[in-house]
Structure formats: C-alpha cells, structure tokens
C-alpha cells in the first residue's frame, strides 16, 4: 500500500503533500523508499539518509498505525418489563412493557423463553409471574453495516421479603435458646 503510494507520489512531482492512511499529512520529500527486507522492522529509513552510516543523520518515520475497530452502540429503546404469564410447555411468556424514557405507553408482548437463556436452571430462577426485566433495542456500529439487536435482562428477585424479619427471629430463638431474643 505504501509502495504504491510512494510510486504515485514520485510520478506526480507537482503534488507537495499526500495523505497517508491515518489521515495525517506528510511531506513528499520524506516519503520513504521501503526495502521489502526491512519492512518487518517496523521503521522505514528515509531515502535522503540512505547513503549515510550515522544513525543520527537518518530520518526515521514510524509506520502508520493500524486502525483499531471498536464496536459502539446506540440504545434506541428501553423498556421495563414485568412477566404476566409463563407458558413453559408452549415455550413462551407474556409480559407488560413500560416505556420509562419516552411517552408513558404500556404494551403487552409475548417472548420466546429461549431468548432469556439456553440454561434451564437460570430460566427457572428468573422467570415467574411478577418478575422484572429490562428489554432493550440497540444499534451496533463497528465493522460492516450497523446491526440492530434486542436483549432481555432479568433483575434477580429480592432475597429479603415481607415477614422475613419474623422468620429470622424465630430461627434465632430455635438455634440459640439461651441467648436473649433478637428484638430485645
């Protein structure tokens, strides 16, 4: 790629500047004449200094860095879902979706149970009527055209429930009968 660019520049001598692949501008006279044997060293030695043995007089140019492809995303839509019905045998569940960011619209939708997880144990843990989840639609940008996808993320049930305080006190009394009760 750089060889081709260098040849092109030597032919078009009226062009004082060229744009390399990083987008920065470099002077035409400093375009390196690349030696195929030295390409893997990571540095190119300038043609102007090729006759000199002194490293100090050599003009060293770093090669253009390879672009790093990074995926970015836009969160297009985001809902809070609540499971209404679970139809395990049929493989789907019904949930209400609440748009908390945009206009307050509540809708009901059916989801394939497999969209939660392929792990049956994980599905059993999180999927029950009343369970909450976030449902989102995102557009990913990176290599290739933008890709739109959606996902479900369940919140874990609260461990501490109403009445658990009493259960703990009862358990504590049974386990440590000689101790004073917890609420005193």
């Amino acid at each position: 790629m750089e060889n081709a660019t260098a040849q092109k520049i030597s032919q078009e001598s009226t062009t004082p500047l060229i744009e390399d692949i990083t987008g920065s501008l470099i002077l035409r006279d400093s375009i390196p004449k690349t030696d195929p044997d030295k390409e893997n060293t990571g540095y190119h030695i300038s043609e102007q200094s090729s006759g000199s043995d002194s490293l100090e007089s050599k003009q060293i140019i770093e090669p253009a860095k390879k672009p790093i492809y990074q995926i970015t995303e836009n969160i297009d839509q985001w809902w809070i879902g609540e499971v209404l019905e679970v139809h395990t045998n049929e493989g789907y569940f019904v949930a209400s979706l609440r748009d908390v960011i945009g206009p307050k619209v509540e809708s009901v939708a059916e989801f394939d149970i497999k969209t939660i997880s392929q792990n049956t144990e994980e599905v059993e843990q999180c999927l029950f009527p009343g369970a909450n989840f976030a449902f989102y639609v995102v557009t990913e940008h990176g290599i290739g055209p933008p890709r739109t996808s959606s996902g479900l993320q369940f919140t874990m049930p609260y461990i501490w429930r109403e009445g658990d305080n009493e259960k703990v006190k009862e358990l504590y009394r049974d386990l440590f009968p000689s101790d004073p009760p917890l609420d005193e």
Binding site: T72, E73, R98, I101, A134, Y136, V138
Partner: protein, 277 residues
Amino acid sequence: MCVGAFVKGQGVIAFGYDSATQKFGKDLPGNIGFQRFIKVLNFTSIVLLGNFNPAIYHPEWLEKFKILPIQEIQWAEGEKTEMKEIPYKNGTLVLKKIPPLMVTPDLTELFFPSLRLTVNYERFECSTEERRNFSLVKDVVIKIFSLLSHTPIKAVGINFHAHWKFKDPSDVILKNLFAKNDSAFQNSLGPDYHIGGTIWSIQKGVKSSLKIEKSNKLDNGVYIQANYHKDIETIQTEQPINFIQENYDDFINQFIEESKKILGDPEETWKMQQPKK
C-alpha cells in the same frame, strides 16, 4: 462572519456570532450563513437522598442492563492506574493517576466520558458538564431507579450551573442586584469588594434556590446556580421518577428564563474545554 439569532427547543438558545471578535450577541449585523447554538448551561446534576447500596452501581451492571452504551464502559475500563515519580525538594513525589472507576461497599465513583456517577449510603448523584448529555443524565437516573424500584428515597434535587457574561461587568450587575446602597459595604470593605447572593422561593411544593455570584471561569462574568428540591418520602421510586420525568426539561427553561429576567440576555457563555485523551 455573523449568524442569525433565534430561539429553538427547550433551553437551547442561539444568538449571532461574530467570528472576528469571537463574541455572541443578539444584535450582531451581517450575513445569516448558518445557525450556531450557544450552550447556555454548563452543568447539571440529579441528586437523590435516601438509602443506597453503592456496590450495586457497578459498571458491569450498567452495561448489562444497557443503562449506558458499551463504549462508555469500555473507555472507563481502559483507563489504568498510573504511578509517576518526580524529584521534589530532597525526595521524590509520587503522582498517582486514579482510574475513573471506583466501586466499594461505602462509595462508588464512576467517571464516564458522558457523565459522572457518585453514590454513598445516603446520596446518589448523576452529573455532566456537557449540555448535549443533559438528557442522558435524566434517562440514566430514570432507568436506574426503574430497575431499583424499592429504593427508599427522601428527596430529589435537580441542579444547573451556568457562567454568563453580559454587556455590563459582573460587579456592576451584582452590586445593582444585592448592594444597591453599597456605601455601608464600601465604608467597611473598601471599593473593591465582590458580592453575590441566593434567592429562595417555593413553587408548587418545589423549593428552588438561585445563587448568583462572580464567575471564576469568565472574566467579568456571572456564575448562576439553580437547585430545584422536592421532599419525597417513599420506599417506591415511582414518585421520584415521575417528578424527574415531568419536570426536568421545564426546570431547564425555568432556570434560563428566570436568569434572563433577573440578569438580562448573555453576550457570551463559558464552555468547558474537553481534556485531550
């Protein structure tokens, strides 16, 4: 080059801009080539008081539930702790660059490119210094407390800051507002004193305060800070979410309108320079 003046949208105001003098103004003559928005506000934060578990607010949790897009998390996670030793007097000074993510049981501090999140046991704060991310701050707070719907909340506060420069120097404006008969101040403090003040009011159950003082960002500019505070005692987050959703944009307008009524139209506003990464 000068550009046109118009008002559009919620809290976004554009004036004429003279590139030669780098001044903004409503009465600048010349061509209307393109329209440029002045970012009139410099900072916003949404603060909730209540009982919080700082450890929950982990970057992975925010990413998993798509509260923030992946690039925000990756940027913050890519920042590493760096130590640098420099000679200082007879010894060495160690400079430590702290990574922008800290999650502990007592305190969580997350610095993302777009916003900042600080949570301790009693206080949650989400803030940004970029006008284009104001709505993101609102969305993030709403998403978080829609998921953590059983968080006990005591109060909600919505805050805005701005640095504006006017035709008159700040001292003239501020003395006119807060020290009309300034002979008493002059007699005791001399002629070079600075003054500022806070105006409180209660409207529809919302306590609002407007603090006006000399700007430390703009020469001869004025710093304005608004706080809209609502006491909400609840163990469900629905009420605070509704308050934020229904009022946030109105408060932006209210802040700009009130400030302009009190101080006049700004000729210049301060904008934070983005640090080079």
